[in-house]
Point group: C2
Chain length 110, copies 2
Amino acid sequence: MPESPKKYFPLFSRRLKDARIKAGLSQKRLGIEAGIDEFVASTRINRYEKGVHQADEATAILLAHVLGVPLAYFYAEDDSLAEMILGFCQLNRADRNEVLDLVQKKLSPE
Amino acid sequence: MPESPKKYFPLFSRRLKDARIKAGLSQKRLGIEAGIDEFVASTRINRYEKGVHQADEATAILLAHVLGVPLAYFYAEDDSLAEMILGFCQLNRADRNEVLDLVQKKLSPE
């Protein structure tokens, strides 16, 4: 059971900014590539990154697609989970299953 | 780079319903335990599950907390990632690091 929810600087905002900077995109470029009108693109992304506005799921999926990260990455509450989500999603099916087997083994040691 | 975004039945809706049913909670009970007024609790959760309305991040965090799942679980685009997120978040730090090492090894085989 996770700890009771502390006041979060919006997770999505923090992860979005991290991923955008890692991808080397400006706010405007990210917004345009995610299909946002160029005249409002940078303002919109800036508001998402400041937590002023929240992207709906469809927009979040487009942003994740442009940044090459899984949607769930934006909502990873700790950095090791964020790292796991990024890595796991690059694995092929066989490797994923091997990693999942290791997790299951850790969760239910005979 | 993930495939281009297909039309998704809202991910959040699907995962929320799955987690609620797995937890054995009614829509009303889940809503109340997440701090939603009891007179609108079941309608609100029903709308989230139908994708009519979208929970903001603070509400999603409370729902995840009540259901005992990580927030990122709601946004896992495939079931093996969803299973991974659920399992990984139950691991202690040492086991997490071991799993992360395996993922890194798979991503960069010498």
